[in-house]
Amino acid sequence: MSLVSAENVKAYYYTSAGSVKAVDGINMNVNRGEILGVVGESGCGKSTLASTLMMNVRPPLRLVEGKISVDKYELTSMKRKEIRSKIWGTLISLVPQSALNALIPIKKTRDIIKDVLKHHLKNLNNEEINNLAKKRFKELDLPIEVLNMYPHELSGGMKQRAVIATSTLLNPKLLIVDEPTSALDVSTQKIVLKMIVDLRIRGIIESVVFITHDIAILRQISDKITVMYAGKIVESSTANEILENPVHPYSKGLINAVITPEREVKRRGLSYISGQPPDLLSPPIGCRFYPRCELAKDLCQKQEPHLTEVRRNHFVACNFVK
């Protein structure tokens, strides 16, 4: 059963220099109870995809075409006001990229939580709200004292966890997390990851879209991985399949670029993908990866590859794969 389905979604930023094609024809499915990892370099449209999935499209970003439906709602045909009152927070929640700035600096965590609950469950008094907040914090192994603190009193990891706890107060079915671990040290990363897994085990949330540029993290938590490059999906399959048998040269490059403290890395040396992601104002014609691709042939400059199923549930968009 799929919870989220997106069909041919295109979302462009309209600037004075032209349209930036940050999300360009994306098809994806997120099943119930699944953690989907979206991976790619910076500037590949991952965060834009996150905004688009929850229909947080404000100028200059605009949805050009496509259909997004989550649960029984078709978001693309709903009004923004409706989405704000019915969808956000209750059906879809986002943990934004700079979660460290996501807590309002002048309020205590308790009051931030109060804001959320008061708005959605109108007939609660302060006591009940307090109890609810305490209960949820206990469930997620967060210290109760955090409730009485201002955001600047919390450490980065604690802030991140408080944001996640606040985002999931209303038991949303889908949680979108945008690079939740990028500013944290490794042990805090682990705690945050465990918290996200915990949320799913406890049935607080159903599915997660986990956006990151760190493919190593996805091995630990995700069921499926989608690799994005220049606004398009280049490869998508189960996490193990992608990590063990990557097919697309870009996915291979990403995996080889991971720095692990294991011995063999010293032997094989560090590898990286040369060049940078293309300027999305005028992406290359044909395959968007060809300027950086080792396998590129003349064909790649003309023919745009489409996602094809190479093995069961393993989709790749490359001209050299049949």
Binding site: N56, R84, S85, W88, G89, S93, L94, P96, Q97, S98, A99, N101, A102, L103, I104, P105, I106, D115, V116, H119, H120, V163, T166, S167
Partner: protein, 280 residues
């Protein structure tokens, strides 16, 4: 928390000095006319008497008690100053917040109005409006001043809101379901409370000077006394040329002391709120 702020603020010497001067003057204006119950516009003694025990600040050209006039003048001036500061800050903050938060066409329209208000010379506008209204009580004068002085506050608030609204926590509030109005006024505005407070104080001191300026040229309050009206009469009777120092120096000195202490208080508070400005 209030206690901590008070302790911190009173550690700044500048603040203690300026605030005591300000408090003293305000106290004179509030309590003075009650304790020293001489009617300011009643002829009580010989004209142009020097300061003495009976007349602490002497009398004016008609034999009216100048001390009573100054006490009542302080009251009026401070009342006008703070009233127009309240109204002016409120207009500026509301317009700035809406313009900054809504953006687009609303922003453009509101900024056109604001820019017009800012480019028009405020004094000229005040003179025009004041001359048009024949009977000007304290409230009118305060409103005239506040309606011509909110432009720069609106611009400042707009700029701050525009930078604040891009913060992630605004999006989180939106996701939590808060309405735009609530986000703008309950989430963003408190983030810039210190700025608005500074605006308020600056506006109060500017308004007091503006009132004195209007009164000096005879367009101030038509009933009662303000510091400006005393100066107006002193000018009419050529007090400066004739060396009647006790007539024009006290109101002038008090006016300068009030506005200066207001500005210094604002600077001291600014230092407290932004530690970067604090001396070592």
């Amino acid at each position: 928390m209030v206690k901590e702020i008070l302790i911190g603020v009173f550690r700044i010497k500048k603040f203690v000095v300026s605030f005591s001067i300000l408090a003293g003057i305000i106290l004179m204006g509030v309590v003075g006319p009650i304790v020293y119950a001489v009617v300011p516009y009643k002829i009580v003694g010989p004209p142009e008497a020097r300061p003495s025990e009976t007349y602490p600040l002497g009398t004016d050209a008609y034999g009216r008690d100048l001390f009573a006039q100054v006490l009542n003048g302080i009251r009026t001036s401070i009342y006008i100053g703070f009233l127009s500061a309240i109204v002016g800050t409120a207009i500026g903050v509301v317009i700035g917040t809406i313009a900054g938060f809504k953006g687009g066409l609303v922003d453009d329209l509101l900024m056109v109005v604001t820019n017009i208000m800012m480019t028009l010379p405020a004094m000229l506008l005040m003179i025009l409006v004041a001359a048009y209204i024949e009977e000007r009580n304290v409230l009118y004068v305060a409103l005239i001043i506040s309606f011509t002085s909110w432009g720069w506050i609106a611009r400042g608030v707009r700029a701050q809101i525009m930078s604040l609204r891009e913060q992630q926590f605004v999006f989180m509030s939106r996701m939590a379901g808060l309405s735009d109005v609530k986000i703008a006024f309950a989430d963003l505005l408190p983030n810039m409370a210190s700025y608005v407070f500074m605006c308020f104080i600056l506006l109060a001191s500017a308004a007091m000077l503006a009132e004195a300026g209007l009164s000096m040229i005879g367009l101030g309050v038509t009933s009662g006394y303000s510091l400006g009206t005393i100066l107006f009469w002193a000018r009419m009777k050529e007090a400066v040329r004739r060396g009647l120092t006790w007539w024009f120096i006290p109101p002038g000195a008090i006016l300068v002391a009030t506005t200066t202490s207001l500005l210094v208080t604002a600077t001291a508070l600014d230092e407290y709120f932004s530690p970067r400005l604090r001396g070592s």
